[in-house]
């Protein structure tokens, strides 16, 4: 009977007709200025840099590069607005401004999604369904906290810190801006935010939205530039707090820079998350979760499940399923709605990833890559996995920040807990098992700030996010995301 049915060949490529997102709704300027004190201003540096579409290497727009004087103007604007009105604005009114921002993001969701994809290379499916909706949701959630802080910290009389410097990465540009700005405003702080050099455009669109929302001048200042501009924010004497998301290495540099000051900080840094599959797991769902865990957003995710641990008894089966599933991933034009894996964010990041792939091979691990045609221009890396990996391999220890998975095996629960925790990082982890008691044993013993059990890479504004150990300190999201922006002593 079964011989009559043509078996589905999961390992074979599926061919889709292109389904390109229409970019007509997007209007772009040729040149973007700094957003300081409610106005777009030319940089005193007179310098601009190009923002590149990583999928075709075309220039999208020129972006202003802030120098020390520009940073100083932005900090002064933030200080002035903090002292003169924002700290005196009734919390209820503060909330209404933040709600407005959330609403306008929702209205402009489509053009924001397209721009995010053009500027950063991520699939339109992800920017449309994840980045932009979550950015709006974040503003909506924190808006509601503005006039309820006394309930979050009873008897503590919570007070804002003042002027907050915020430096964000290129992997979720608008969403990270929302994660930073929304709680800062809700708690009554003013902001100087610097997006990453390679992905400034949606933050500048957000500046336009903030203008449209009529937020008082200087409450949010958005200035663009390379890492050196970020350094100027960190070292500005009138900044009360630094909120940073990025690599552990840069996080440490910032912490050293502020070590002799009274500046407060939150650090959301790197990770090398363990994703653990037990033999009793729902295996197909687990494979889906592993794929999502490491290949979501080209692996440019601090909480990516980059270390896979499979229980020995199901190792061969899982590996076959993983490879089959990888073959069905669509790599290509990020604007195509069928695309699963978009472009690597920058040339520099592509060379970092390729360097790690070489290291993996040299250290003796076995490589498997999706065989597919990659576009001639742009920065691309096919989904990659390594087997025959040991704990001491660099691809199993260091954050690659790309679509590269290191697979290891284990026999006992105790063994996998030890292996999973054997890292200086502690941002996230994943566990796959059908046994409830095992879920709770693992989730309580894994030393990480976010644990996904039978799921992975889920985010929500109500859910606190942040790491243990060298993955940083402080939390973003939820009730726990408020205190890093408040004085509650």
């Amino acid at each position: 009977m079964s011989s009559k049915i043509k078996p589905l060949k999961y390992h074979e490529k599926l061919n889709f007709s292109p389904s390109l997102e229409n970019t007509d709704s997007l209007s772009l300027k040729k040149e973007y200025q700094l957003f300081i004190n409610g106005r777009f201003q030319k940089p005193l540096s007179n310098k601009y840099f190009a923002s590149i579409n990583p999928a075709n290497e075309n220039k999208i727009a020129m972006v202003a590069q802030a120098n020390e004087k520009d940073v100083d103007l932005a900090v002064k604007a933030a200080r002035n607005s903090y002292e003169s009105h924002w700290s005196k604005t009734p919390p209820k009114e503060r909330a209404k401004y933040i709600y407005r921002i959330a609403r306008i993001i929702q209205e402009k969701a489509k053009e924001l999604a397209i721009l995010e994809t053009l500027d950063g290379g991520k699939p339109i499916r992800e920017s449309r369904d994840i980045d932009i909706p979550l950015a709006a949701a974040h503003f909506f959630y924190y808006a509601g906290w503005a006039d309820k802080l006394d309930y979050a910290f009873p008897n503590r009389n919570p007070k804002p810190l003042g002027v907050v410097g915020q430096i964000i990465p290129w992997n979720f540009p608008l969403m990270m801006a929302a994660w930073k700005i929304a709680p800062a405003l809700a708690t009554g702080n003013t902001v100087v935010l610097k997006p990453a050099e390679s992905t400034s455009l949606t933050a500048l669109k957000l500046a336009e939205i903030i203008q449209e929302a009529d937020l008082p001048d200087g409450v949010v200042n958005i200035i663009t530039g390379p890492g050196s501009t970020g350094e100027m924010i960190v070292n500005h004497p009138d900044i009360d707090k630094i909120a940073f998301t990025g690599s552990t290495e840069v996080g440490k540099t910032i912490m050293r820079s502020i070590s002799s000051t009274s500046k407060k900080s939150t650090m959301e840094l790197g990770g090398k998350a363990a994703n653990i599959i037990f033999e009793d797991a729902p295996l197909d769902q687990a494979v889906e979760g592993v794929i999502n865990g490491i290949y979501f957003n080209q692996g440019h995710v601090c909480c990516a499940g980059s270390r896979l641990f499979v229980q020995e008894s199901v190792y061969e089966l899982i590996l076959r399923k993983l490879k089959d599933r990888m073959q069905s991933l669509v790599v290509g034009d990020p604007l195509d709605k069928n695309t699963d894996i978009g472009a690597i964010n920058s040339k520099q990041q592509l060379s970092t990833i390729n360097n790690y792939i070489d290291i993996g091979k040299k250290e003796g691990a076995d490589i498997f890559q999706l065989s597919c045609d990659l576009p001639a221009k742009g920065y691309w890396c096919p989904p990659t996995l390594f087997t025959n990996v040991s704990q001491s391999h660099r691809i199993a220890k260091e954050e690659i920040f790309g679509p590269v998975l290191a697979v290891q095996t284990f026999r006992t629960t105790e063994e996998v807990i030890t292996k999973a925790n054997n890292t200086p990082f502690g941002l996230s982890a994943g566990v796959w098992t059908d046994k409830g008691s095992k879920v709770f044993n693992l989730t309580s013993k894994l030393r990480a700030g976010v644990i996904w059990a039978n799921t992975y890479n889920k985010f929500d504004p109500t859910s606190p996010f942040g790491g243990y150990k060298e993955s940083g300190h402080g939390r973003e999201g939820g009730l726990h995301g408020l205190s890093p922006y408040l004085n509650i002593e």
């Binding site: 912490m255 070590s259 700030g449 976010v450 644990i451 929500d460 109500t462 150990k469």
Partner: protein, 294 residues
């Protein structure tokens, strides 16, 4: 009887539940009013490393104890201290501490232990949360201890300074290594004896006497210490702690001296500083056959 030769106490250090001498064999003579009182161990970097190793080793077991059990153990420390009150007062006076102040110091310390003991099984009820995420997931946040915590005792407040750091750290499952006050080192070792008699597993509390300026950099740089709690230090030393702590991104808990003496420190917020928030997600099955669509 009055001519009886007194048996003098040898003050050693407290590592892994035992009272060894410093491996370095060094000591310093503690003198008050030109009278030598005791020989105090000058602990070394090796002693510090041993202490951290012992704190790390016991961490999994200490954190796995029930919160109820840890609360009782904290309460036991208070009981033991109460019964040895006179000894502590006498020892404080011997080290040059004022008598009235000594009595207050003891009373406050004992009461403070009991205050913090009660938080053991309550902190997660007040500071944990169930988070109403928009997707079909059950999502909750609990606080967990940070891990191995280094503590630097204040020079003043000989007993209260120790209690106000050690108890809030260990009550939730952290394990600790404390560098004692140079001025009042004897009290820290007597406290170690109390702790050693209170069912606190060996290694949960380690106490070292010695030179602060020598030991603090080793503590601040140690790659297996997760957090450091300390009271006001001189600006250059404070800055050095902040700088060295960056090596492995230790959490730093700096407590103003005035808070130690006042009751202001008696809040869950100090306990929280030695904790991490962990958020767990799990899918909720969707029952598509149900007519309820909530």
């Amino acid at each position: 009887m009055s001519n009886r030769i007194k048996v003098l106490k040898t003050y050693k250090i407290f590592i892994d539940g035992k009272f060894p001498r410093t491996e370095s064999g060094r000591y310093v003579k503690l003198v008050k009013n030109n009278i030598p009182i005791a020989n105090v161990c000058l602990s070394s970097r090796k002693d510090l490393k041993n202490s951290v190793a012992s704190a790390r080793k016991i961490f999994d077991s200490w954190v796995s104890k029930s919160a109820y059990n840890r609360a009782q153990i904290m309460y036991r420390i208070a009981e033991m201290l109460e019964s040895r009150k006179e000894q502590f007062i006498e020892e404080l006076i011997l080290q040059g501490y004022n008598k009235e102040k000594s009595i207050v110091e003891l009373d406050k310390s004992i009461d403070r232990i009991i205050y913090f003991a009660g938080w053991s099984d309550k902190i997660n009820q007040v500071f944990g949360s169930v988070n109403p995420v928009a997707s079909s997931h059950y999502n909750f946040t609990v606080l967990e201890p940070t891990g191995v915590v280094g503590l630097i005792s204040s020079e003043e407040s000989p007993l209260l300074g120790l209690i106000s750091l050690i108890i809030p750290a260990i009550v939730t499952g952290n394990t600790t290594v404390t560098i004692a006050s140079e001025k009042y080192p004897l009290t820290s070792i007597s406290l170690a004896e109390v702790i050693s008699n209170s069912d606190v597993p060996g290694g949960v509390v380690n106490i070292l006497t010695g030179s602060k300026s020598e030991l603090i950099p080793h503590l601040a740089k140690h790659m297996d210490v997760n957090s450091i709690g300390f009271t006001e230090e001189k600006k250059d030393l404070r800055d050095q702690i902040y700088l060295d702590a960056v090596n492995n991104l230790k959490r730093l808990v700096e407590i103003p001296k005035s808070k130690i003496e006042s009751e202001e420190i008696e809040s869950p917020y100090i306990i929280k500083k030695f904790m991490e928030a962990k958020t767990t997600w799990h899918p909720i099955e969707k029952d598509f056959t149900s007519s309820n669509s909530y």
